[in-house]
């Protein structure tokens, strides 16, 4: 060996803009949701003016809604409702979907066949129609909305969890545990769970954006959250008539829905890239 070769510089690791954007947006919305009672300039159910669809001014930033209430305050008040409902529905979807999906992956047999066919049927029905029919039949309340949405999405989560589980069940470390005579509790929680936490967390984020969109759609169709409460979907619907008069009132809540969905999606993308990089560097 003569001299050491001059090495080319390594590529600079750039901080991920996407990550910062999604973190920033989600963080801001969580902050708004938590501190909404102190952030609202007006009571979201009180009339601030006699005139509907007023343009924004110094005091009322986004103007008034179709009844003359402060739109900005209503938007802020709707944040916690929208996010909490989304969170609740997604938690339920994952609780049901993950438990059943992993269990079925582990056990196989008739339970697997039966549940998979039920899920196939559930997935073949258009979600929004099922949601409309069930909510219309049961009557709309926040609990009904969250439970129905959670159950509808648990079918898709079940599929994901089962596929992840199936990949693990054939692996040697599972065989080793079975050979020792381990029961399903240890197999599920001790051996399998640590492997699926990250992919399921990614699924959770994206599923939450779907749930928010879904419940906003129900609200938009009038079957969701009932007045005087309003989530973002309901805010779009109740102010829709203003659009003809040139008011931007329905646009702002629609933007908020879009922003949260995009931020959640980007967050999942970054998570996926990180996972791939971690796999590669092994």
């Amino acid at each position: 060996m003569t001299t050491k070769p001059d090495l080319a510089p390594l590529p600079r690791q750039r901080p991920s803009l996407t990550l910062w954007f999604s973190f920033g947006v989600l963080g801001a919305f969580v902050f708004i949701a938590v501190f909404s009672p102190w952030l609202v300039p007006f009571d979201p159910t009180e009339f601030v003016t006699d005139l509907p669809f007023q343009a924004g001014n110094g005091a009322s930033i986004l103007g008034s809604d179709y009844l003359g209430r402060d739109l900005f305050s209503r938007l802020i008040a709707g944040t916690s409702l929208t996010l909490l409902m989304g969170l609740g529905a997604t938690l339920l979807a994952h609780l049901v979907g993950d438990t059943l999906g992993m269990l079925v992956a582990l056990r196989g047999g008739w339970l697997d066949v039966v549940l998979c066919r039920i899920v196939d049927v559930a997935l073949s029905l258009p979600k929004i129609i099922v949601g409309l029919v069930v909510v219309a039949a049961l009557g709309s309340s926040i609990t009904t909305l969250v439970v129905v949405t959670g159950l509808i999405y648990s079918a898709s989560v079940f599929r994901v969890a089962r596929a992840l589980g199936r990949d693990l069940v054939g692996q040697d470390f599972m065989r080793v545990a079975r050979m020792r005579g381990e029961g399903p509790v240890w197999l599920l929680f001790g051996e399998m769970l640590p492997h699926v936490v990250r992919p399921l967390a990614a699924d959770f984020a994206i599923r939450m954006s779907f749930a928010i969109l879904f419940m906003s759609s129900l609200s938009f169709l009038g079957l969701g959250v009932q007045p005087p409460l309003a989530d973002w979907g309901a805010l779009v619907r109740e102010n829709l008539q203003g659009l003809g008069g040139g008011s931007l009132a329905p646009i702002y809540p629609a933007l908020a829905i879009a922003l949260v969905s995009i931020a959640l999606n980007l967050f999942v993308d970054v998570l996926g890239e990180r996972n791939d990089a971690a796999e590669l560097s092994k």
Partner: protein, 544 residues
């Protein structure tokens, strides 16, 4: 050697993009026209990355930090994608380890083999087919004019590997890169493919870069050998020079590990005679397979009435090729696969067919170590947790037991805190052994535990198993396709062919004086670390 090299690595440094850890350190090598250069080294030595860089392929996550690779004058590192495409398949080609995964199952072989000609427009289709058929003939494929009309699943694994060689040689490239081309094959197939590959390269005067971890295989085909270790080029010299006068300790170690074959009577004097007492574990008339069972016969029969027994303090090896049923037998004994007929007895007591029917204590007394050290350890658990769970499960509360187990497999006690990803392949297999021993078993089933390891590491695992047998008086069922390993370890050898025991006897008898033709064929096909071994071994009927 250096006049107009076909391929030249010039002070090549390849590193990881994140962190900058070099996986190839300042490598300078060249391959002359018509020369076969072998790259040999353990996994992680960088041999595959080096070979792929000759094709201008750098894996994602890696980058060239210095130097270049020139193929017939073209800088393969800085070449455009178009220039690379123009060369690949035409002036340089690649023969992969797994032919089965490299062929499209839905296309006839002729069409796939002649694809390089079509892609590069180098030859009219008829000429390409003619050339392919000529190659089939020289590679020893049966019925060369017709066989190419078949689909990949209609030929054997060894034949498919030869089709891939034909594809690589079709356009008469300057250089072929062979990445472990025979490692996935059985010994009896490996010898045919090796012979075909050597003929193909010699007849066409093609230069080759031959990547392998098996020195005995390399010695049959290479003109020169380059030894790599952890990204460094340790030494590079002619094959004779390397074998007869190795300069580096690591090379000497590699040679020593390969010299365990062929065995002589002197190597086998320490073998224990078969025990007179009844076996710790006994299998009687095991029939097993897949599909519905009628008249004690499964639809697809893998084991056709296998009997054997293993006494404590003895190692019984099962040898046989893929498809012989070795692993199925291990799974039946372990209770992972229910047999259609036959019984398993543990110290005289008949066991239930399925693991779920056996008591926890019966499960504890039979432990198994798997082939792939990687997947047999849960990557998310620390070594301490992996061992600790076994102790908890079987109610073993002896203090310091984890440290004691690690000591037993020659690992430091602080390894308890490590995750499997922080261990080397050999260390992982030691942890697997420790995990099996944690249950204080009487019977240990080792299913190909060294076949995913490098020669030198495998040798140390073998010594460990031998030591454990004597210290713990274990009955060990050792499944392997590697004869040298079996010769080093086994007291008794069982030869399995397509689910039938063709020979069963004391190790010296079976290995030195085999009775069955199949055993002779199997033993004669194992490459010896000797130049000219391949030529001395007549095709079809290898001499002993």
């Amino acid at each position: 050697m250096t006049q107009n090299p076909v391929l030249e690595f010039d002070r090549l440094v390849i590193a990881q993009t994140s962190g900058g850890k070099s996986i190839l350190n300042d490598i300078s090598l060249s391959v002359a026209k018509g020369e076969v250069l072998a790259l040999i080294g353990e996994s992680g030595s960088g041999k595959t990355s080096l070979a792929l860089s000759a094709l201008g392929r750098i894996r994602p996550g890696l980058m060239v930090r210095h130097g270049n690779v020139r193929l017939a004058g073209l800088d393969m590192i800085r070449a455009t994608e178009q220039e690379l495409r123009h060369r690949r398949g035409k002036s340089i080609s690649y023969i992969a380890q797994s032919a089965a995964m490299s062929f499209n199952q839905r296309m006839r072989l002729d069409r796939q083999v002649t694809e390089p000609a079509a892609v590069h427009g180098a030859m009219p289709a008829m000429a390409a087919i003619k050339r392919a058929h000529a190659l089939y003939a020289s590679l020893g494929l049966p019925d060369p004019g017709q066989i190419g009309a078949r689909f990949p699943h209609e030929v054997s694994g060894g034949q498919l590997q030869r089709f891939m060689i034909a594809m690589g040689l079709l356009l008469d490239p300057d250089l072929v890169v062979c990445d472990e081309p025979t490692s996935a094959l059985d010994v009896t197939t490996q010898i045919e493919v090796l012979r075909a590959l050597k003929t193909g390269i010699r007849e066409n005067g093609t230069a080759a870069l031959f990547v392998s971890h098996d020195l005995a295989v390399v010695a049959q085909v290479a003109d020169r050998i380059a030894v790599l270790k952890r990204g460094d080029l340790i030494e590079c010299a002619s094959t004779t020079e390397i074998l007869e006068n190795p300069q580096h300790d690591y090379t000497r170690e590699l040679i020593r590990a390969c010299q365990r074959w062929p065995v002589t009577a002197r190597d086998l004097v320490a073998k224990k005679p078969p025990a007179a007492a009844e076996g710790a574990i006994e299998a009687r008339g095991i029939v097993a397979g897949y599909g519905s069972v009628t008249n004690n016969k499964p639809k697809i029969e893998i084991l056709k009435g296998v009997s054997l027994n293993v006494a404590r303090g003895r190692v019984v090896a099962i040898i046989g090729e893929s498809g012989s049923g070795k692993s199925t037998l291990a799974r039946v004994i372990a209770g992972l696969h229910a047999p259609a007929a036959g019984t398993i007895t543990l110290s005289g007591k008949t066991l239930a067919d399925r693991g779920s029917g056996r008591t926890r204590d019966e499960m504890r007394r039979i432990q198994m170590v798997f082939q792939s050290a990687d997947t047999a350890l849960n990557a998310k658990h620390s070594v301490g947790r992996i061992l600790g769970r076994v102790l908890d499960f079987f109610g073993d509360k002896s203090p310091g037991r984890i440290a004691e187990l690690l000591e037993m497999v020659n690992l430091p006690a602080e390894y308890a805190r490590r995750k499997p990803s922080q261990l080397s392949g050999g260390e992982k297999q030691r942890v697997n052994l420790a995990r099996a021993l944690a249950a204080r078993p009487e019977v240990l089933i080792c299913d190909e535990i060294t076949s995913a390891l490098d020669t030198v590491v495998a040798a140390s695992i073998i010594r460990l198993v031998e030591d454990l047998r004597d210290r713990l008086d274990l009955a060990i069922l050792f499944i392997s396709h590697d004869m040298a390993t079996v010769a080093a370890l086994a007291d008794q050898v069982v030869v399995l062919k397509q689910g039938v025991v063709v020979e069963n006897g004391a190790a010296p008898d079976v290995l030195l004086r085999p009775q069955a033709d199949y055993t002779r064929l199997l033993l004669g096909s194992v490459p010896e670390l000797r130049i000219g071994w391949l030529e001395d071994t007549a095709p079809g009927a290898p001499a002993l």
